[in-house]
């Protein structure tokens, strides 16, 4: 950290400005760090959008980069269990979840009769609510200003610009989805609570009682029975959902399946794409 700090502010570095190396665990966080850091930072993400964030196998090259990094930004909670096995790093560690109001935090260890989502500290997919970009970028801003106080004003200005752009887009997304406010949906995996809350959708059930474990015939039958005499018309799947499960629920439950992306390289484009897909499915599902 010290080396990076010296490099960032020393006079010799000013001639050819040395950029802070920042590692994030997910591409979404990379996009948000870039939104604040701009040209003053060089950001690399360990995870790719297509990867399962829970089970990343870190490679030697990435390990070297983590050791060189001035800052490591993680989703936090227990989203990245593999992170705990990394050797001690000198970088400032930023837990992006720190200031985020979490959902489903009561999903706890004692609740045995009810099948709990495996996350013990609340639902971890908080970046899927655009409004959470505010607290996330605030944590990033604070850490960046600590590392490079000279750039404080630029960081703040960039964050402001990004957030006002995001605010405008958010209003647009909400306007587009406004006709479907209150629509009830079913999800395959319990990762869309934040997204649904922001855009006024109501998740009534998740098909996978526990992520990765296929539903039993009884659970599937109960879900299909509920679906048939309900007004639910939309099934939200993730890219890694079991296609045959999605197909079966869609066909027998009479719902329109749509695959939304839980992660993307460009934070704003991720929502553009998801809102587009959602609108298309909602329109054709009516």
């Amino acid at each position: 950290m010290l080396a990076a700090l010296v490099a960032a502010v020393s006079p010799s570095a000013q001639a050819q400005p040395q950029r802070l190396l920042i590692i994030t665990t997910s591409p979404d966080l990379k996009s948000l760090v870039e939104a604040v850091g701009g040209d003053d930072v060089e950001v690399e993400s360990i995870g790719q959008p297509e990867q399962d964030p829970h089970s990343i196998e870190i490679k030697p090259g990435q390990l070297v980069r983590v050791k060189q990094a001035a800052m490591l930004v993680k989703v936090g909670l227990d989203h990245e269990p593999w992170l705990a096995r990394l050797p001690a790093v000198s970088a400032t560690i930023v837990d992006a979840s720190k200031a985020v109001p979490l959902l489903q935090t009561e999903t706890p260890r004692l609740r045995t009769e009810r099948k709990a989502h495996t996350h013990a500290y609340g639902n971890t997919h908080y970046w899927l609510d655009p409004k959470n970009a505010w607290p996330i970028t605030a944590s990033i801003l604070a850490a960046l200003t600590d590392l490079s106080p000279a750039h404080r004003a630029t960081f703040e200005a960039r964050r402001e610009a990004f957030l006002s752009h995001l605010e405008a887009r958010l209003t647009a997304w909400q306007t587009m989805l406004a006709p479907y406010r209150g629509a009830r949906i079913v999800v395959i995996h319990d990762s869309w609570s934040y997204f649904a809350d922001r855009f006024g959708l109501k998740i009534v059930a998740a098909a996978e009682p526990n992520p990765g474990v296929p539903p039993s015939p009884g659970e599937l039958a109960a879900l299909l029975g509920r679906l048939r005499d309900s007004d639910v018309r939309l099934l939200v799947a993730d890219p890694h959902s079991d296609p045959s499960l999605v197909r079966q629920i869609a066909e027998k439950g009479g719902v329109k399946p749509v695959t939304l992306l839980p992660s993307g390289r460009d934070y704003v484009a991720l929502f553009d794409e998801n809102v587009r897909r959602l609108l298309q499915a909602l329109k054709s599902g009516q």
Binding site: V204, S216, R226, P239, H240
Partner: protein, 416 residues
């Protein structure tokens, strides 16, 4: 139940039909793990197909998988004549490990397919479609007909390879493993690696224990395969279990039962008495030395015969226990009712304003933690009883065990 389980059952019958046949061959050839090895190669083929830009569900991906499995099949056939220098099982194991590792390396370059390949290995027999079953049935009927036509040389190559000239043997082995690769690649897509392995080995192995002759074993294997499929599916429905693993467990339970029956046939009175005495001595010593460790045998007995537990509590403790049990039952009833109400609200069957609905959700979340307190009371009483059972049950058990062993071993040494 029939609506959801009919097609998985038919799929199970189709799988039984072809896999019991191949299973008998595979057992005779002593290459039990060839199935896992070829399946892993097929998964590697899928990974390569994804890297080449084909979706995991596409026709192209299927042919990639088949091509890789065929290559492995030919390799296994080629090795057989050199059995003396290099065991076929060694090659099969190496192919398995290396293709699994290569799969990881390939998926590192194309991470979008990793989950689908994982699902493929676990299998999704619950959501199999009639079309998939029909395709499998047609393919396996064709392969079965081919093997029926060529039954003489194929059976000779599996059961009496020494009676066959080397060059011919290679040819028939290649044909056998190639058709097997096609079957494995196709079955794994529907049922997953574990289930396919069970269909291949378990009915054939059981039939081998119970019958002799190829045709008799095949027929018995088919009956067993069908019955175990039905048992697994019903268990999955009744006990609310994921379907694939439930069927695999049904196969495993059948195998364990057969093993127990075989062992029981060799059991004399003296041997049973020795076993019982040793078990009593070990259980007694564990109860004496570690009264607070988990004693599953005692827990099970107490559940079946509650007085075994309550006899070690005094009157007021017994009253506390009864009250706690009642309170848990009441809470559970109330929770079931409220949970049903919450579900109805979620599904828009019952109208409730948003604030009230959220209060209900939070109440439910907190309520389940409250009954955890009752569970703690029961645990406390349980451990109190254990302290008393320690000597009152543990000492007699040790005494029975030691006396039994002493009496049995004093008369004559354990020889028969």
């Amino acid at each position: 139940m029939t609506e959801l389980l009919l097609w998985p059952f038919v799929a199970g019958l189709v799988l039984t039909g072809i896999h019991v046949y191949f299973g008998l061959h595979v057992l005779a050839r002593k290459v039990v793990f060839v199935d896992l090895s070829l399946a892993q190669l097929a998964a590697l083929g899928l990974a390569v197909a994804i890297l080449a830009g084909h979706p995991v569900q596409s026709e192209a991906a299927y042919w990639y998988a088949f091509a890789f499995a065929i290559a492995g099949a030919v390799l296994v056939a080629l090795v057989r004549p050199y059995e003396g220098a290099l065991q076929q099982e060694a090659v099969i194991g190496i192919v398995y490990a290396v293709s699994a590792a290569l799969g990881v390396l390939v998926l590192d370059r194309a991470p979008q397919g990793a989950d689908h390949i994982k699902q493929l290995l676990v299998g999704t027999i619950l959501t199999v479609t009639p079309q998939e079953v029909a395709q499998l049935a047609a393919l396996y009927a064709a392969i079965g007909a081919l093997h029926l036509l060529l039954r003489r040389p194929i059976i000779l190559a599996s059961f009496h390879p020494q009676d066959m000239p080397h060059r011919l043997l290679l040819l028939w082995d290649a044909l056998f493993y190639a058709s097997f690769a096609l079957v494995v690649t196709s079955s794994v897509r529907v049922a997953g690696v574990l289930l396919v392995f069970c269909y291949l080995i378990v009915p054939a192995a059981l039939a081998g224990l119970l019958a002799s002759g190829f045709v008799a074993r095949l027929l018995l294997g088919w009956v067993l395969g069908a019955a175990l499929t039905a048992a697994g599916l019903i268990a999955s429905w009744v006990f609310d279990l994921p379907t694939g693993p439930a069927v695999v467990t049904a196969f495993g339970a059948a195998m364990a039962l057969a093993a127990l029956l075989f062992a029981a046939r060799r059991l004399t009175w003296r041997r049973s008495a020795l076993l019982a005495s040793s078990a009593a001595a070990v259980a007694g010593v564990l109860l004496l030395v570690f009264p607070q460790m988990d004693q599953p045998w005692l827990d099970a007995l107490e559940t079946a015969v509650p007085p075994l537990h309550t006899a070690f509590l005094n009157a007021s403790e017994r009253a506390t226990r009864d009250e706690t049990l009642q309170s848990i039952a009441r809470a559970r009833e109330e929770l079931t009712r409220l949970r049903a109400l919450e579900q109805d609200v979620r599904w828009n069957k019952v109208e409730m304003d948003a604030e009230k609905a959220e209060r209900l959700r939070q109440y439910l979340a907190g309520k389940s933690e409250l009954s955890a307190g009752d569970a703690l009371v029961l645990r406390h009483l349980h451990s109190k009883a254990r302290e008393r059972q320690r000597f009152l049950l543990g000492l007699p058990l040790v005494a029975i065990g030691v006396c039994g062993l002493w009496a049995l071993l004093r008369r004559r040494p354990l020889s028969g």
